[in-house]
C-alpha cells in the first residue's frame, strides 16, 4: 500500500511536467517460481524550468514487498554550475563508497576549476523503514586539472542509533596523457587508522587494442559498521593484481582476456577469463559471445564456460544463454552446475515483451525450471 501511494505521489508530481517531456516506463515481470510477480515503475522529466524529478519504485506480490529505489527532485542552474537533489538518492563523492540515502545532495562548480560536493541525510532502510538517530554526512572537494585530469579529497561519517558506524577519508585522482590514463582511489578508515581500500587502474590504447593494469587492496572490517564485534578480530586484507586486454580483432569481432593473481590470508590464487564477441550485423543488434573463466581459490575455485546468442528478426529477438560451472570441490552440492535460458523478445513501438524458460541445477536445487514473462511499456508526455 505504501509503495502504491509512493507511485501515486510520484506520478502526481511528475504530471506537472511543463519544461521537458515526462518519460515513464513500466515493467511487469512474472515467473513460475517464487517470487512470482514484480512491477517496476520509473519516470523522469521536468516539473518546472530548471527542476526535474526522477523516481523508480517497485512492488512485489508479497504483501510486505514494495519499495522506492530512487525518488528525487533535482534543481539546477541553467549553466549546470550548481545542482541540488532532494529525496531518496545515491550519493557519491570521490573515493567513498556510494551511499543510498534519504536526504539532500548538492554539487557546485567554483572558480579556479574547484568542485564541491556534499550530502547528508538518513541511510535508507528497506521497506520504507526508519531507525532513530541514524544519519550520515559527507562531501568532497576536487579540482579539475585542465582537461587532462582531476584530484579530490572526500570525507564521510555515518552514525547508527547515534553510535559511530563509519568515519573515513578518501582521495581520488585521474590523469589522462595521450592514449593512456590512470585512475586511483584510496580510503583511510579513520576509526581504526588503516589504509582500508585502494584501487588503481592504468589503461593504454593502441588502435583496436586496449590494455589495463589494475590493483586492489581491501580490508574487510572496513566494510562493517564500527560497532560490530567482527571489526576487532584482526582481519586480513584481500589483494588483487591483474591485467586485462581487449582487442578489436575485426570490425565485428572483439576479443578480451583478463589474468590476475589474488592474495588472501597468505594464500595465493590465480584467476583468468577469455571472451569473444562476434556481432552479427554492423549495429551489433545480433551477437554471439563465448567465454571461458577460471577462478582459483583454496576450497572455492571453479571453472566455467558461458555462451550467449542474440538474433533479431524484425520485431522479434531470440536469445539463448547458457553457463556450465564445475566447482573444484563439490562438497555434496553437485559436480556441475548448468544453467540455461531461452527467450523470445518482441518490441513494437512503445511496447516490449519477452517470454523465457530458465533451467538450472544449483547447489540449492538439484533441478529448477522457471518460466519468465516480462512486459514493458514506455510513455512520453509532452
Amino acid at each position: 500500500m505504501r509503495a502504491a501511494l509512493t507511485v501515486a505521489a510520484t506520478l502526481a508530481l511528475a504530471a506537472r511536467a511543463d519544461a521537458e517531456p515526462l518519460r515513464l516506463r513500466g515493467d511487469a515481470l512474472a515467473s513460475a517460481q517464487s517470487p512470482v510477480g514484480l512491477l517496476v515503475l520509473g519516470g523522469d522529466g521536468g516539473v518546472a524550468p530548471g527542476v526535474s524529478a526522477e523516481a523508480l519504485v517497485w512492488m512485489g506480490t508479497d504483501a510486505d514487498h514494495g519499495d522506492a529505489l530512487v525518488m528525487a527532485v533535482v534543481a539546477r542552474r541553467a549553466d549546470r554550475r550548481a545542482e541540488v537533489r532532494l529525496g531518496r538518492l545515491i550519493a557519491t563523492a570521490g573515493a567513498l563508497r556510494p551511499q543510498h540515502v534519504d536526504g539532500v545532495a548538492g554539487r557546485a562548480r567554483l572558480p579556479a576549476r574547484f568542485d564541491v560536493e556534499a550530502f547528508g541525510g538518513v541511510p535508507v532502510v528497506p521497506q520504507l523503514g526508519v531507525r532513530a538517530w541514524d544519519w550520515l554526512a559527507g562531501g568532497r572537494i576536487g579540482r579539475r586539472l585542465g582537461d587532462w585530469g582531476g584530484v579530490g579529497v572526500a570525507a564521510l561519517e555515518r552514525r547508527s542509533q547515534g553510535r559511530l558506524d563509519v568515519r573515513e577519508l578518501g582521495v581520488d585522482a585521474a590523469v589522462a596523457y595521450r592514449k593512456s590514463d590512470l585512475a586511483a582511489r584510496a580510503v583511510l578508515d579513520a576509526i581504526d587508522p588503516t589504509l582500508a581500500d585502494v584501487d588503481v587502474a592504468v589503461t593504454h590504447r593502441m588502435g583496436g587494442l586496449r590494455v589495463e593494469l589494475a590493483g586492489q587492496h581491501r580490508v574487510a572490517s572496513h566494510l562493517l559498521p564500527a560497532t560490530s564485534l567482527f571489526t576487532v578480530l584482526g582481519d586480513v586484507a584481500s589483494d588483487r593484481l591483474g591485467a586485462a586486454v581487449r582487442w578489436k580483432a575485426a570490425p565485428r569481432l572483439d576479443l578480451a582476456a583478463d589474468v590476475g593473481a589474488r592474495a588472501v590470508d597468505a594464500e595465493y590464487a590465480a584467476d583468468a577469463y577469455c571472451r569473444a564477441v562476434l556481432r552479427l550485423d554492423d549495429a551489433g543488434k545480433g551477437a554471439i559471445t563465448g567465454e571461458l573463466r577460471r577462478t582459483g581459490v583454496v576450497d572455492g575455485g571453479w571453472t566455467g564456460a558461458r555462451l550467449a546468442v542474440r538474433v533479431p528478426r524484425g520485431a522479434f529477438t531470440a536469445a539463448l544463454e547458457g553457463e556450465l560451472v564445475v566447482p573444484d570441490v563439490d562438497r555434496g552440492r553437485g559436480t556441475m552446475w548448468p544453467w540455461g535460458l531461452a527467450a523470445l523478445g518482441w518490441t513494437q513501438g512503445a511496447w516490449d515483451a519477452a517470454m523465457a524458460v530458465e533451467a538450472s541445477s544449483t547447489p540449492a536445487d538439484r533441478y529448477r525450471v522457471d518460466v519468465l514473462a516480462q512486459l514493458g511499456r514506455r510513455w512520453e508526455v509532452p
Binding site: L29, L69, A183, T289, V297, L341, A354, A356
Partner: protein, 349 residues
C-alpha cells in the same frame, strides 16, 4: 613441427578470408549518395536541401526526394522509373539523420550565419566521402568549448540518458566494466551522470533494488549487469574467492534475508557450517581463519546476537581466549560499541 605451424597459419588465413563478411571485413555493398561528386561539380548544398539554411529545430526533415532531384534542373529526365533513392542512397544515412533530429537540439538557421554559408565548416567530410556526413562532436566543440567545459550535455542533447545508442566516438563499456568501474567513477562521477541516471547506479548500490537488472531483460543476454541470472549457482564460490566484494553493493544482512526467503538454512537446530568449524584446539577451529578472512560473511548472519555468541568463548579466561590479535590497539573509547560488550566499566575485564 614447422610444417604443422605453417599449415595452421594457412588454415587460419583461409578461415579469416572465408569468414571476412561475417567478421565485418567485407561489407555488403550498399548504395550511398554521391555527396562528393555533387560538391566537386559545384552544386551547393541548399540546391538539393532546399530551405536548409533557414531551418529551425522543428520536425521538418530536409532530405531530398525524387522531386528535389528533378526540380534542381539536373535530373529532370530520370533513366529509371524507380525512385532515385532506391539505388543512389541508403536507408542507413536517412536513419542517422532521423536519429540526429530526434536526439539533438539543432537549428541550421542559427549556424548558417556563423558558418557564413560554408556548410563544409561543420560537414567536413563532404569533400572526401559519401553517404552520411554528420559532424562528430569534436567539430561542435571547436566552437562550443564552453558547453564542453561545463559538461552541459543538455545544451545539445534532448535526452542523453535516453539515447540508447551511444555514438561510435564515445566510450562504450564492455560487460565486465561494471565490476571494475570504481576508480574511474570516483574521479569523474559527473561524467558518468552524463549518460546514467541515478536509478542505474542504484540498481546495484541501492539497498532497495528489486532484482538483478539482467532479470528484467531476459531477451538480452548482452545487457550490462553486475551478475547474470545464473550467478546464483556460484555466488558462494564468488564470495569465497573475492571476500569483501559483495558488500560493495549488498548490505551485510542481505545474505540472511535471501536465505530465509528462499528457505535455505531455515533450521535453527542444524548448523550450516561443515564439521570442524568450531571446537577446542587448532585442528578443529576452521571458523577462526574464515572469520579473519571474511568477517563480513560472518556478520551477514551473526549480527547482534552473534556478537554475544562470540564473546561467550572469546574472552579472557574463556576457551577462545582474548579475541584481539597480537599488537591490537584501537582509538575507540572503551565505552563505545563494541568495546563495552566486554569492557562494561570502560576498563580491563
Amino acid at each position: 613441427m614447422r610444417s604443422r605451424a605453417l599449415l595452421l597459419a594457412v588454415a587460419a588465413g583461409v578461415a579469416v578470408v572465408a569468414c571476412a563478411g561475417v567478421l565485418g571485413f567485407r561489407k555488403t555493398p550498399a548504395p550511398v549518395f554521391a555527396h562528393r561528386a555533387h560538391v566537386t561539380a559545384g552544386i551547393g548544398c541548399p540546391r538539393c536541401h532546399t530551405g536548409i539554411e533557414a531551418a529551425g529545430d522543428d520536425a521538418t526533415m530536409h532530405i531530398p526526394d525524387d522531386a528535389s532531384c528533378q526540380a534542381a534542373g539536373c535530373h529532370d529526365n530520370p533513366h529509371d522509373k524507380r525512385s532515385c533513392a532506391s539505388c543512389h542512397s541508403d536507408p542507413w544515412t536517412v536513419g542517422l539523420a532521423i536519429e540526429a533530429k530526434a536526439h539533438l537540439k539543432f537549428a541550421h538557421a542559427r549556424h548558417a550565419g556563423p558558418a557564413v554559408g560554408n556548410c563544409a565548416r561543420c560537414h567536413q567530410a563532404v569533400g572526401t566521402a559519401d553517404g552520411a556526413l554528420r559532424p562528430v562532436m569534436a567539430t561542435c566543440w571547436s566552437c562550443h568549448e564552453k558547453e564542453r567545459d561545463l559538461r552541459d550535455c543538455n545544451a545539445c542533447h534532448v535526452d542523453l540518458p535516453g539515447e540508447t545508442t551511444p555514438p561510435a566516438s564515445h566510450l562504450i563499456h564492455d560487460d565486465d566494466y561494471v565490476t571494475r568501474h570504481g576508480p574511474q567513477a570516483a574521479a569523474a562521477a559527473d561524467a558518468c551522470a552524463s549518460c546514467h541516471r541515478a536509478d542505474f547506479c542504484a540498481s546495484c548500490h541501492g539497498v532497495t533494488a528489486p532484482t538483478l537488472s539482467a532479470r528484467l531483460r531476459p531477451a538480452d543476454p548482452m545487457a550490462a549487469s553486475a551478475h547474470r541470472p545464473g550467478f546464483i549457482a556460484r555466488h558462494s564460490e564468488a564470495a569465497r574467492a573475492m571476500p569483501t566484494t559483495c558488500t560493495t553493493c549488498h548490505a551485510p544482512d542481505r545474505c540472511l534475508d535471501c536465505h530465509r526467503d528462499r528457505g535455505v538454512m531455515t533450521s535453527t537446530t542444524t548448523s550450516p557450517h561443515p564439521p570442524g568449524w568450531i571446537g577446542v584446539g587448532p585442528g578443529a577451529n576452521a571458523h577462526g581463519a574464515a572469520a579473519r578472512r571474511d568477517p563480513v560473511a560472518c556478520a551477514s548472519c551473526h549480527g547482534g546476537a552473534g556478537e554475544q555468541l562470540c564473546v561467550g568463548c572469546h574472552k579472557v579466561g574463556g576457551p577462545g581466549g582474548n579475541p584481539h590479535p597480537p599488537g591490537w590497539s584501537s582509538r575507540q573509547p572503551m565505552g563505545a560499541m563494541p568495546c563495552r560488550m566486554c569492557h562494561p566499566a570502560g576498563g580491563t575485564p
